[in-house]
């Protein structure tokens, strides 16, 4: 079983559109959406939720005003500036370290469970999909990503799936690191803008840092052919296989509006390029 993660560093380069097309083109797979902050894959794959599970983040501090003597010890030890001068905890700043609770001389502080989000096991016409929704303004998206990954793996093993196809989050921090852990390949979606290149290179470095194999695709490559050439050279110099190049086409946007995977919505040049990429990818994974 192979796990394929689609990432990009920069947001909006086409990760979800490409993931949805892979979901349509690959056989016998489990699908996972690890962009738990702003999940969009469901808008193309239309999952029917079969199981809904609570996800608890780290418990956060709460100060019982009836017990609090106002000694101020908690304010002094909190490194996150989460406790006000009136001895109220700001749950957004609190990182759940519990130092205040241990320090409080009158046991006025308790840790309250924090429902940080939900995750779902769903059915789609393309197979089982595991996805999630992080609560607004919550932390710990990395842990929720790990939960989604864990569940996807359980179902993949149970169903003897050949692939897990994972839509990744933007950036290079905590949720990306959790998405990368133990995948067989990270497909980095690059776009030929200076921002797109810089961001894709940073996230490729992160993948390398954790010993994960990287392959690239260039989306909207005709927006700037000079930059596309820069990317091609960079891939060559760094020994990164370039598995696909896709044209800029307004029909891609239209396929999103219609809520369908691109390769099913149309059969034009860009759709053919994505299909070709899927073939290249399968071949590459079998080596």
């Amino acid at each position: 079983m192979k796990q394929i993660l689609v990432i990009s560093g920069k947001g909006g380069t086409g990760k979800t559109v490409i993931t949805a097309s892979l979901a349509s083109l690959f056989e016998n797979k489990i699908i996972a959406d690890c962009d738990v902050d702003a999940a969009d894959l469901h808008l193309l794959l239309h999952p029917r939720i079969k199981q809904r599970h609570q996800f608890s983040g780290l418990a956060k501090a709460w100060i019982d005003p009836a017990r609090c003597t106002g000694c101020g010890e908690c304010v002094k030890v909190c490194r996150f500036g989460a406790i006000s001068q009136k001895f109220e905890v700001d749950p957004i700043s609190c990182e759940g370290c519990r130092v205040c609770m241990f320090k409080c001389p009158v046991n006025a502080i308790i840790m309250k469970e924090n429902r940080a989000g939900e995750y779902y096991i769903s059915e789609t016409q393309y197979g089982i999909m595991v996805h999630a929704k992080l609560g607004i303004a919550e932390e710990n998206s990395g842990r929720l990503v790990s939960t989604v990954r864990q569940k996807a793996k359980e179902y993949a093993e149970k169903n003897k799936a050949d692939y897990i196809i994972i839509d990744g989050p933007p950036g290079i921090g905590c949720p990306v690191i959790a998405s990368l852990a133990g995948v067989d390949l990270a497909v980095v979606v690059m776009e030929p803008s200076l921002s797109g290149i810089q961001d894709a290179q940073r996230v490729s470095d992160v993948a390398k840092h954790f010993g994960i194999r990287v392959a690239c695709v260039i989306n909207k490559y005709d927006i700037n052919l000079e930059n596309t050439e820069l990317i091609e050279n960079w891939c060559r110099e760094n020994n990164l296989p370039l598995l696909g190049k896709f044209l800029f086409d307004p029909l891609v946007s239209e396929s999103i509006v219609q809520g369908r995977p691109l390769v099913e919505y149309c059969d034009n040049d860009v759709a053919r390029q994505v299909k070709e990429f899927a073939v290249n990818l399968k071949r590459f994974l079998s080596f």
């Binding site: 560093g9 920069k10 702003a38």
Partner: protein, 298 residues
């Protein structure tokens, strides 16, 4: 005054709108504005510098403090690992392991160690780079490769707001998403501009961003980027929610091309300049009365 540019979804044009807004303000600024600061708080993938091309004059290290255990003083009692909420420290029979990447730097282990065997040492997670781009004071955070925690870097960048006078305008480029780094970047803003695109992805993520900004009770408005035939998708939602649409920037290949080269569109065409004139005007109209007085003369 702080104006932040956020989106929920990545790649909708936050940086484009924020950068051009900053340039517009810097070119039309009068004496009531002391300084214009641009803070790139997308520390995982900072891109504003590509467009503003600042001259960086100062680089500061951002560290978090992680435990270092003096094994000669340690009695292996296990207190440190008991108090650690992040499983970042493990006590064995005659050794103590610290998992640096998991440590949040809360200081609990050293505080509660009964034999004072734990001291704290700095570990760099990223840098803050400061400089100037024409008439804009520029600062960006840059998270080191392999580091997980963006929030401490953002917190550090935002110290610039505290350390400068209220007569300045701070323009904040916010990372995508809705979780802790976003909150850290947005909070204390006087106004948040949400940049979206007229697709179901754009709408879905805009809704999440709106909930986030509401939770922080910050006034907001929407910019529709890559505007075109499907705008009603966003407009209808904004109407129902009572959120003003501030400006529409059309979907066009020329804009995408200038973007790809790192050229701010405001310097390209009069028509593009007008988008940002309108944006400034609309933000002023939609801010609370109190804040309008502060910058009325812009």
């Amino acid at each position: 005054m702080i104006i932040s540019f956020a989106s929920g979804k990545g790649g909708t044009g936050k940086t484009t709108v924020a950068v051009n807004f900053a340039i517009y303000l810097s070119q039309h600024r009068n004496k009531s504005i002391e300084k214009i600061f641009f803070l790139d708080c997308d520390v995982e993938e900072p891109n504003a510098g590509i467009f503003l091309k600042p001259k960086i004059v100062k680089i500061e290290s951002v560290d978090i403090f992680i435990p270092r255990v003096n094994l000669e003083l340690c009695t292996f009692c296990g207190k440190c690992s008991e108090v650690c909420a992040y499983n970042a420290i493990a006590v064995l029979k005659n050794d103590v392991l610290v998992f640096e990447q998991l440590c949040h730097g809360c200081g609990g282990c050293s505080l509660f160690c009964p034999t004072q065997a734990i001291s704290e040492v700095p570990r760099q997670i990223g840098v803050i780079e400061k400089g100037r781009s024409d008439r804009i004071e520029f600062a960006q955070g840059r998270l080191n490769i392999g580091e997980a925690m963006a929030t401490p870097l953002i917190r550090n960048l935002k110290k610039l707001v505290l350390n400068n006078s209220k007569g300045s305008i701070f323009i904040i480029d916010v990372p995508p998403g809705t979780s802790c780094p976003v909150i850290e970047a947005i909070k204390e803003s006087n106004f948040t501009v949400l940049v979206t695109e007229p697709t179901p992805f754009g709408l879905n993520d805009l809704q999440l961003a709106v909930e986030t900004v509401r939770k922080l009770q910050i006034p907001m408005g929407v910019v529709i980027n890559r505007s075109g035939d499907s705008d009603n998708l966003i407009e209808e939602y904004c109407r129902k929610q009572g959120i003003p649409v501030l400006v529409r920037i059309p979907l066009n290949r020329e804009i995408a091309h200038f973007y790809s080269q790192g050229i701010p569109i405001i310097n390209v065409k009069e028509q593009y300049r007008d988008f940002f004139a309108q944006l400034v005007q609309k933000i002023l109209e939609n801010m609370s009365h109190q804040t309008i007085i502060d910058i009325e003369e812009v």
